[in-house]
């Protein structure tokens, strides 16, 4: 392929080079998504003798009047509302602790990042053991010790009030390091002169944090908030392994519901409708983030 810039050869080269990737995206991402949208408007069930036909919004009407689905939606929302701020704040605090250069910084950074390389399926199994119900369970024992003996052992994963919180803690432990690394890199990109200027103006540590650090971290912060919110809506592995959605649907989630509908009950239409709802939520989060980014550019 010998192509002069802007020539017809270059046009051909452009198509040829991107063809494999575009083909893959169309076949394995776009097509199944279009299929999901289409199926969600039918009554498709596996093994049902009834012919497949258009039923409009029935799958969606049923979803939004189904308490289990609404519970899943609420669980995901609660998960996002707790995990996103807590994890982001904790990651920011860690990044600030590590901002100052020291010989141990690389070691600490690696340590806090370590959980990120662990597959979620393995993390889930390990945390089932950490949450072991008796006084010998590591987390029960740690709480007993920290509370100077006042903590009574709990069966975290079988307690409807605690199970979702237990999943949240596991996710925070696993995801914190990723956010911390992104934010730390962001901190190091904030120009030192800005801190100097603020200091000359007599700003204390807290004012410097509010007026220099936070605005300087705006893009990395938006990025980690976006990624964490999306992840909060796609929680699946932990639920499948740690709680099976229970007890009493306390930890069921959108994706868990979608997989259950499709594979345990053969209700393809319901599963597809959940996928579409899920997509709309993620799209909403992504659009909100783009808006925030654009506002920033207009200001700057």
């Amino acid at each position: 392929m010998n192509a002069a810039p802007g020539s017809r050869h270059e046009a051909a080269a452009g198509w040829l080079l991107s063809l494999p990737a575009l083909l893959g995206l169309v076949l394995f991402v776009l097509a199944p998504f279009v299929f999901a949208v289409a199926v969600s408007f039918t009554g498709l069930r596996l093994g049902s003798p009834l012919p497949v036909h258009f039923v409009g919004l029935r799958a969606y009407e049923r979803l939004f009047s189904d308490p289990v689905f609404l519970r899943a939606l609420a669980n995901n929302a609660l998960f996002a509302l707790v995990v996103v701020p807590v994890q982001t704040a904790a990651a920011l605090a860690l990044a600030l602790l590590l901002e100052r250069p020291s010989r141990l910084r690389a070691l600490y950074r690696a340590l806090f990042f370590l959980p990120v390389v662990f597959p979620l399926s393995l993390v889930s199994v390990v945390w089932v053991l950490l949450y072991a119900p008796g006084p010998d369970g590591m987390i029960n024992a740690a709480l007993h010790w920290l509370s100077l003996g006042h903590w009574r052992p709990h069966d975290f994963l079988h307690d409807p009030r605690l199970a979702l919180a237990a999943l949240m803690l596991t996710s925070i432990w696993q995801g914190l390091g990723f956010q911390m690394v992104v934010l730390l890199a962001g901190l190091q990109a904030v120009p030192a002169e800005r801190y100097e200027a603020a200091r000359v103006d007599g700003a204390g540590a807290w004012r410097r944090f509010l007026h220099v650090t936070l605005p300087g971290l705006r893009n990395p912060l938006l990025f980690v908030v976006l990624v964490t919110s999306v992840l909060a809506f796609r929680v699946f592995d932990q639920v499948r392994i740690m709680t099976h959605g229970g007890p009493d649907y306390a930890t069921t989630t959108l994706i868990y519901q979608a997989v259950q509908a499709a594979f345990d009950r053969g209700n393809v239409a319901r599963s597809a409708a959940i996928s579409v709802v899920f997509f709309v939520i993620v799209l909403g989060v992504a659009l909100a983030q783009r808006r925030l980014l654009r506002e920033r550019r207009e200001v700057a």
């Binding site: 810039p5 575009l22 893959g24 991402v29 999901a36 007993h144 990395p220 979608a258 899920f278 997509f279």
Partner: protein, 277 residues
């Protein structure tokens, strides 16, 4: 002591305490795999969880007796190696065409990549499962590899990186008569090693633990990767925690080795996704 030293001391104390909390689950996993079956849970609440009184290889022996660990490991290595290698080529070529070449469908293709970036895999896993099953394509290696080669995030990361490279060298090569492919492999790839490392690492982190897709598409141990094998340990009796911990340690070991060896790349790669994303 000055205020500054006090602050530094407080900072180091906080970091050390947090590091202990972060490491506890990891140590529990690794140390637990070397402890006698009966002591793993009974000692989990004491310092003996991390400093075993008795070390044994019994769990590891049992793992190898119960499943063909090597077989699952080879499956995982094969699937991930082929997926990452093909992905690097396919996605970087597409990104190069998007970043540097002028062609009629460019903005359409860019729009497609950006739109696909928002569609999460979980929302299409079930329809994709039905589509591919209807074609009779399931329960082999390729169905765990081919759908994931083209990756909008990888294309995006390459695209951003290529845009940041200086154009001069490429233009010089083109003037000297090098074609698009020769320019790409001769000039661009050597200057974009960081991007290739980043994409390889991000892809590997994501797919090494992949659970939902092989669960849907495969049956039986023949082509299944490691994450599913650990689930069988968890669901099939006898339930032996020692075996699970030993298995888990071995499952994460390859990624841990890569992580320690390429720590700088890992951190730089992850950091780059956030700053530019």
């Amino acid at each position: 002591m000055t205020r500054r030293t006090l602050a530094a001391l407080a900072r180091h104390a906080a970091l050390a305490a947090l590091a202990v909390v972060f490491l506890a689950p990891v140590l529990f996993l690794i140390v637990g795999g070397f402890k006698p079956q009966g002591r793993i849970l009974t000692e989990a609440g004491s310092w003996r969880a991390f400093f075993p009184a008795q070390v044994t290889l019994q769990n590891y022996r049992e793992v190898f007796a119960r499943v063909s660990f090597g077989h699952f490991l080879l499956n995982s290595l094969l699937i991930n190696a082929v997926m990452v290698a093909c992905g690097l080529i396919v996605n970087s070529l597409a990104a190069y065409a998007l970043a540097r070449l002028r062609w009629a469908g460019r903005s359409l293709a860019m729009g497609l990549v950006l739109a696909m970036l928002v569609i999460p895999f979980e929302s299409i896993a079930v329809p994709l499962f039905y589509g591919l099953s209807a074609l009779g394509w399931r329960n082999d290696y390729s169905v765990q590899i081919v759908p994931f080669i083209a990756n909008p995030l990888s294309i995006w990361l390459f695209y951003v990186f290529f845009l940041g490279l200086p154009r001069e060298f490429e233009e010089a090569a083109r003037v000297d008569g090098a074609g698009v492919l020769r320019t790409f492999f001769g000039i661009v790839v050597p200057n974009a090693r960081a991007a290739f490392a980043t994409v390889a690492i991000v892809t590997l982190l994501f797919y090494w633990g992949m659970y939902l897709w092989p669960l849907l598409m495969t049956a039986g141990p023949r082509v299944r990767p490691l994450p599913l094998a650990i689930a069988t340990f968890y669901t099939l009796p006898p339930l032996r925690w020692g075996d699970i911990l030993a298995f888990g340690t071995m499952m994460v070991a390859p990624v841990l080795v890569l992580f320690v060896a390429f720590q700088r790349w890992f951190v730089r790669g992850v950091a780059a996704t956030g700053i530019k994303g």
